[in-house]
Symmetry: C2
DNA sequence: CTGAAAGCGCTTACAG
DNA sequence: CTGAAAGCGCTTACAG
C-alpha cells in the first residue's frame, strides 16, 4: 500500500492538516514540526498523490496535445518543444495521435475532458471541437482553423509561400509547379498555395498546383506531376517530406538537381537538416510556435478568454541549400 | 461549473448511486431508469470525472513514456506506436522527453509517480530507476538495461550488427569502419558493435570503431573518421541519422556512393524511408517492439512480476538499397 | 502555531 | 431493482 498523508501524520505525531500545510508551505508552522514531517516523509518514501490534489483544486496541470502523428518529424519536433515547455511551466502532457481521423479526434477530446485537462493544443481538422469549446475548455489550434473563437498559431505561411515562389523565379525557373495538401481543408497552410499562385500571376505566369488528396500517397501525385509536366524545372512542395519525394523521383528519372530542376520544401525540421541538408526549404519557427501556443493557452487557463490574439503568424526563414 | 454525478441524479430523479451504476453497467437497473439517466446525462452534457474514479479505484490507466527526444524519428515513431497501442487498450500516455539527462529522468519519474501512473516505459540511461522500482512500480525498458529485474525489449541488435557487417564484406569492402555511441552506457545496442567486431575478426580483419561521445556532435566524429581513414570504403553506422551524416560528408569530399564507399545504417524508420530511401539500413520492428513492451508492462500491472521475459530481442530486417 | 470537519466527484459494500 | 453511508487522498476555511 502506498503511504498516504495520514501515515506521514501518524509517524510525525501531528495531524494530516499539518502535513498538508508543510507540503504546501502554507500558514505558520514551527521549524520543529516541519522537520518532523519531512523526516517522516523521507522515512516512508512518501510522494503526494496528485490525483487527490487535483480533484480538490479542480486544476490538474494536465495539457492534452492532439497531433496527427508523432512519426512525422514536424509533429515529433512540435511535441518535443511543447512537452519541454509545458514541463518547465509545471504542466504535464497527454499525447494523442489522431492520424487526422475525425472519429479519433473526438474520442481523444472526450478522453481529455474526462481527465480534466486544463487545456488542449490541437493540430486537428476537427471542427467539432467547437461543441466542446462551448464548455469553456481552453484550447488553441496550431495551423488549423477550428472556429472563430479558437486562437490559431502558426508560421507566416503566406510569407513562406511567397519567398519560396520568388526564389524559384529569381533562379530563373520557367516552369514552376506547386504541390500542396487538399484545399478543402481550411488551414492557414493554404496560404502557402495562395502566395505561390499570387506570385506566379504577378510575374505573368500560370500557376499550376497539384493537390495530394487526403490519405492518398503523395508519391503517386509526384509521379503524375512529372508525367504531365515534362518541362517542369522548379517545384515548391508544401512540406519537406514531399520535397524529398520529388528529389527521389527526379533522380529516378535522371533529372539533375539543381541543374535541370530546382526544389524547395517547407518545414525545415532538425531531422530534415540532419538527413537531407542539401534541401532548400522554408523553416518554421517550431519552438516559437510551441511557446506562443502555450502562452495563449495559459491565458485561457487563467480565465482570460477575451483579448486573445486569434491569429498569430510567426516569422519563417529561408534556408537556401543545394537543391536550388 | 462542470456537472457532477449528483446533478445527473437530481435531473433523473434517482440517487447518485444509481447513476454510477448505469455509468458502470453494474448490477440490475430497470430499462426505464437507465433511459432517464442517459437522458439527464445528455441534457447537461455530463462526462464522468476520471480523476475521482481513479482515486477510488487506485488505477489510473495512465502510462508514462520517457524517451530522450521525440524529435528523433526513431523515438517519434516509437512514441506514435506506443501511444496508439496504449489507446487501443484503454491506456493514456504521459509523454516525457528526458534529453538523456539523468536529472530530468528523475524529475519525470517522480512526476509520474505522483500522478499515479499504472506503469512506465523507459528509454533511459537512468539506473536510479531501480530505487523506484522497489516500490513495485511496473516498468519496462526499451533497449536499455536498468537493472536485473527490469525487463528489456529491443531489436536483435547482434543479428542486426552481424547482417550489416557481413553485407559490407560480401560487397567486397576492404576497409570497413563502424561508428557507434559511447560504450560506457550499458545498452543492448552495444551488441551492434560487438557483432561488427566479431564478424570482422572472423574474416581476419581489424575492427575499427569510432565512438560518438555523449552529447557531442556526431558530425565532428564523421569528419575525423574520414580524415584518419582515407582508405575507408565501407561504413556501418549505428543509426540512420549518423549514416545520413556520413553520406553528406562523403559527398562533400567527392567520394562516390556506393562506388567508392558503401554505407549502411540502423533503425529504418518510416521517415528515413521517405526522405532517404536510397540508404541501406537495418530495420527495427518498431511496432512490434512497442507492442511487446506494452504487453510485458501490462502483465506487471496485472500483478504478475514473476516469469517476466527479462530480455526480448525482436527480429530485424535488412533493407538493401542504393548506398551499398 | 495546530487540529477537527467538510468536501472535491466518484464507487462499492451493505441493506432493504 | 434502488438508496444512504463510508471512503479514495488530498486541501481549506474555521476555530482555538
Amino acid at each position: 500500500m502506498k503511504p498516504s498523508i495520514h501515515d506521514v501524520a501518524k509517524i510525525a505525531g501531528v495531524s494530516s492538516t499539518t502535513v498538508s500545510r508543510v507540503l504546501n508551505n502554507r500558514g505558520y508552522i514551527s521549524e520543529k514540526t516541519k522537520d518532523k514531517v519531512y523526516k517522516a516523509m523521507e522515512e516512508i518514501n512518501y510522494f503526494p498523490n496528485d490525483l487527490a490534489r487535483s480533484l480538490f483544486r479542480k486544476r490538474t496541470n494536465l495539457i492534452g496535445l492532439i497531433i496527427p502523428n508523432s512519426s512525422n518529424p514536424f509533429f515529433g519536433e512540435l511535441a518535443f518543444y511543447i512537452e519541454s515547455i509545458c514541463t518547465s511551466m509545471g504542466y504535464k502532457l497527454l499525447l494523442c495521435n489522431s492520424l487526422n481521423r475525425i472519429d479519433k479526434e473526438e474520442k481523444y477530446l472526450e478522453m481529455l475532458i474526462r481527465n480534466q485537462v486544463d487545456g488542449v493544443i490541437a493540430v486537428t481538422y476537427n471542427r467539432g471541437i467547437l461543441n466542446y469549446h462551448q464548455q469553456n475548455l481552453p484550447i488553441v489550434a496550431i495551423d488549423h482553423y477550428l472556429s472563430e473563437k479558437v486562437p490559431v498559431v502558426g508560421s507566416d505561411n503566406f510569407a513562406g509561400g511567397k519567398k519560396a515562389a520568388e526564389l524559384l523565379i529569381k533562379k530563373d525557373c520557367q516552369h514552376i509547379v506547386h504541390i500542396n495538401g487538399p484545399i478543402e481543408l481550411e488551414t492557414p497552410a493554404n496560404l502557402r498555395r495562395k502566395a505561390y499562385e499570387d506570385v506566379m500571376r504577378e510575374h505573368g505566369r500560370q500557376p499550376i498546383t497539384y493537390e495530394v488528396p487526403f490519405h492518398e500517397n503523395y508519391r503517386n501525385i509526384i509521379s503524375k506531376l512529372f508525367d504531365e509536366q515534362p518541362a517542369v524545372d522548379g517545384i515548391f512542395a508544401s512540406d519537406d517530406i514531399i520535397a524529398a519525394g520529388v528529389i527521389t523521383e527526379a533522380k529516378k528519372r535522371g533529372k539533375d538537381i539543381p541543374g535541370q530542376l530546382k526544389v524547395i520544401g517547407y518545414d525545415g525540421t532538425e531531422t530534415i537538416q540532419a538527413i537531407l541538408p542539401e534541401l532548400t526549404t522554408i523553416q518554421q519557427p517550431i519552438e516559437l510556435i510551441s511557446k506562443t501556443a502555450i502562452e495563449i493557452l495559459e491565458k485561457q487557463i487563467e480565465g482570460e478568454f477575451d483579448n486573445l490574439p486569434l491569429e498569430t503568424y510567426l516569422p519563417i526563414q529561408l534556408f537556401e541549400s543545394g537543391t536550388t
